[in-house]
Amino acid sequence: MDALEELAGLLTSGKMLSMGAEAAVYLTSFMGENFVVKYRFPKKYIHPLLAEELIVKRTKREARVLLNTRLNGLCVPRLFFTMLSKGILVMEKINGSRLDELIGKVYPGEEQSTTFSRIYYNIGVVLGKLHSMNIIHGDFSVSNLMIKDEGLTELCIIDFGLSDFSNDPEDRAMDLRILFKSMESRFPRYLPSFRDKVIQGYKAGITGFNFNSVIQRLREMELRGRYVKERRRKHKTSVHNI
């Protein structure tokens, strides 16, 4: 136990890269190699029993999904070490930029160029492949997509903290919805072309399930939000309009 504590302390003593919603991410190095340490720590404002339930479940699932996707040839961080009881995962550091940073900072004005069109299409392809393995990302947002520095072509997915195994069209559609909403909240102007490209790529990337079932579910989901007008089909000009 003491050795375990010590190791956990050591792993989380590096430089904090980010404080995510459910975990802190540290950068640490060992024998000249950089690693990312993801540490899900219990929070004061979450009940300890609930925190424990979530931490163990999510850490375990993230580890399984990272291995599975890697074996199937997708670019995700390589997993080196897990410490389930402490909620710790040690992973490869991907050298690249987050997609939202890339759009927002590196290439202002170029968000709709062919380079970016290719990236957007590729996002759809990669998500399609992921779904074809019956894996759901759970937080497939623009900030969880990395573009590798060299050549700006290889697309990697990070943060499988909310991932799950599922072949339900609803869950698949949810990944798309999260992606589009994350784009909308960061760069609303680019959403239409982004959406088109991603959906084209998604259609090309999937195997073994029906494309339309997912797209239809996505549409239904979008209508489910609060006060969505299209949901109300009839009585458009009735006595109620006073």
Partner: protein
């Protein structure tokens, strides 16, 4: 509230004196508020809140209640403000989103007033009004807004001329979850006693039950599975009601906070503002306070007094609209039950 502070929060082109009367009637409260600016001053704040003896909000009964109190409320608001009706520069009204029959009470009253006083009618989106009174009272320029009430649970940020919903409930609202649970298990009505919700009172001394569903999807959340599980458990184990209340509350709040943290990370906001009726919940407030301390960000909840629906927030948003010359022809001032916040242009954002 000092003018300089307000000017840092808002882009207001015409600094002329304005007195605006605001009408709120989207759900359970008929509120009439009168606000003057500059300087910002609340001249009156009249509220008639419908409290059902049994069941929930029956639209017809709430509407009857509102109609029978409307004249009285208006008279009181003007008397309390110590002004003549001719001193009013404009009539602001919450045209939506909300429950149709109730909305029509406010819309009708507003049209009648605007016609008889010959003053402009300023349309106000109810959700925008919750945010603007919160931004004003908390002095927050560009926060992540957590808007929680009986009918709404949304995470909102301002981006490119509009407020955008970056996360929301996919089914029922947080307030709705607490209300339905307490009604079905018989611990309410009354839903609120001495400022505390029936679920909070019942949760006292409760302990955590493992295995209830916890659903966060990206920055969205879902409450209906949790509600079903809690109700089912409570029916089977009536003696464990305190534990169920406690667990329901812990999970519901944890889901919302996790979604908020995700939204904070993805939007890079450094401030949180909590508004809406459920913002008055002290347990939730405590948890947000802890979270913001841990993340070292600014957090503010709207003054409890203005968390629930009121006419003042409509009047204040009316002032902002009035100074930007926004108004609507009488014949177009109709109730809009489904008026999403991202359809509204916000010209007063600096």
């Amino acid at each position: 509230m000092e003018n300089a502070v307000i000017q840092s929060l808002y882009n207001l082109p015409r600094e002329r004196n304005s007195v605006i009367l605001g009408i709120e009637s989207t759900a359970h409260t008929l509120g009439i508020g009168i606000v003057s600016y500059p300087p910002f001053e609340i001249l009156s704040d009249i509220r008639f809140k419908y409290n059902p003896q049994t069941g929930g909000l029956h639209p017809r009964l709430v509407t009857e209640y509102m109609v029978s109190n409307a004249g009285n409320a208006l008279e009181k608001a003007i008397t309390e403000a110590g002004i003549k009706s001719s001193d009013i520069d404009g009539i602001a009204v919450a045209l939506g989103p909300g429950i149709g029959p109730q909305l029509r009470v406010g819309a009708t009253l507003a049209r009648a007033l605007a016609l008889s006083l010959k003053k402009p009618l300023i349309p106000v989106n109810h959700a925008v009004a919750h945010i603007e009174i919160g931004r004003l009272l908390c002095g927050k320029k560009d926060p992540l807004v957590v808007y929680i009430s009986g009918g709404n649970t949304q995470l909102i940020v301002y981006k490119e001329t509009r407020y955008r919903v970056v996360g929301e409930t996919l089914d029922i609202a947080l307030g709705n979850l607490l209300d339905i649970f307490s009604r079905e298990t018989g611990i309410a009505p009354p839903y609120i006693v001495n400022g505390r919700h029936a679920v909070d009172i019942c949760a006292e001394g409760g302990s955590f039950i493992r295995g209830f569903p916890y659903t966060v999807k990206g920055q969205d959340i879902s409450y209906s599975g949790l509600l079903t599980a809690a109700l089912r458990y409570a029916m089977k184990n009536p003696h464990a009601i305190n534990n169920v209340c406690y667990t329901l509350r812990e999970i519901a709040f944890a889901q919302l906070i996790e979604a908020s943290e995700r939204a904070l990370t993805s939007t890079d906001k450094k401030e949180i503002l909590m508004v809406g009726g459920v913002a008055a919940n002290d347990c939730l407030h405590g948890k947000y306070f802890e979270m913001s301390k841990e993340r070292r960000i600014d957090y503010c909840r709207v003054d409890k007094m203005y968390a629930g629906d009121n006419g003042v927030m409509i009047a204040w948003t009316g002032v902002l609209g009035y100074l930007h010359g926004l108004s609507v022809p009488i014949e177009n001032a109709v109730a809009r039950q489904r008026w999403r916040i991202d359809e509204v242009g916000i010209p007063w954002m600096p």
